[in-house]
């Protein structure tokens, strides 16, 4: 398992190669990349995001993410997983987060990847501040993120 909180950007091909290593029993890798959206509303370009500042709780973040992966491992057959989350100042269109899950079969890889993202969004101590034409704004949590996490509790 690789969990990294870092300022630097990441390269998807490199991370997938590290995730696969020399293993020959991996048939499926599901991955997710989150990006800084500049345009969040086609109607109101005054809300366009120039940049985003990401803060986190060093020490707790790594533990929270490892615990989320552990939960996923209990539910699905995972071979290995990578989580990279960037912190600091990110410009529009930059990569924020990578979650990649390797498995023998795609069903497990997809489900575990989405599960990890949904829990990361609601349980890992990261906070986003957007810089727009209006100034700086802390981002509010979305109701849909809570709902996305809840559906895993009802499933299975």
């Amino acid at each position: 398992m690789k969990i990294s909180i870092q300022i630097e950007d990441f390269d998807l091909t490199t991370e997938l190669a590290l995730l696969l290593g020399k293993r020959t029993d991996i048939g499926a890798v599901a991955s997710f990349v989150g990006l800084v959206r500049q345009v969040t509303s086609e109607l109101n370009h005054e809300n366009d995001v120039f940049s985003m500042t990401l803060e986190h709780y060093p020490g707790m973040t790594e533990k929270a993410l490892a615990a989320i992966v552990k939960q996923a491992e209990q539910r699905w057959k995972i071979i290995d997983a990578t989580i990279i989350h960037r912190v600091g100042v990110l410009q529009a269109a930059e990569q924020i987060v990578l979650v990649a899950v390797a498995s023998a079969h795609r069903g497990d890889a997809f489900a575990a990847c989405e599960f990890i993202m949904d829990y990361l969004k609601t349980e890992a101590p990261f906070w986003k501040k957007e810089t727009t034409a209006d100034g700086d704004h802390w981002v509010d949590p979305k109701v849909t993120d809570g709902a996305a996490r809840e559906r895993w509790k009802n499933a299975e």
């Binding site: 989150g34 990401l54 803060e55 986190h56 709780y57 020490g59 707790m60 533990k63 929270a64 989350h85 924020i96 987060v97 993202m117 990361l120 969004k121 609601t122 349980e123 890992a124 101590p125 990261f126 906070w127 986003k128 501040k129 802390w138 981002v139 509010d140 949590p141």
Partner: protein
């Protein structure tokens, strides 16, 4: 008893506090009691800790409820709902 208290994100900015060593009054046992105690520190503190805002808490890097009991040497953290990813 001494504990460490950390504040993050919106809380850190409006309180202008990121971390402090605190001598916890002996009548304060739980997270909720600590929140009430902190809310008496002034307007910015009242706005955050009087219960009108959602403030999540962690003890020693694990999310906890308001009923959780604080022990000596604990690292207590307060922060707004998370928004990563």
């Amino acid at each position: 008893m001494m504990i460490k208290v950390l504040y993050f994100a919106r809380l850190k900015e409006s309180l202008n506090y990121s971390t402090e060593e605190m001598l916890l009054p002996s009548n304060i046992k739980t997270i909720l009691q600590l929140k009430t105690h902190l809310s008496a520190r002034g307007d910015a503190w009242t706005a955050i800790f009087s219960g009108k805002q959602v403030v999540r808490a962690a003890i020693n890097h694990a999310l906890v409820d308001d009923t959780e009991v604080i022990k000596v040497g604990d690292e207590v953290a307060f922060f707004p709902p998370v928004t990563g990813g």
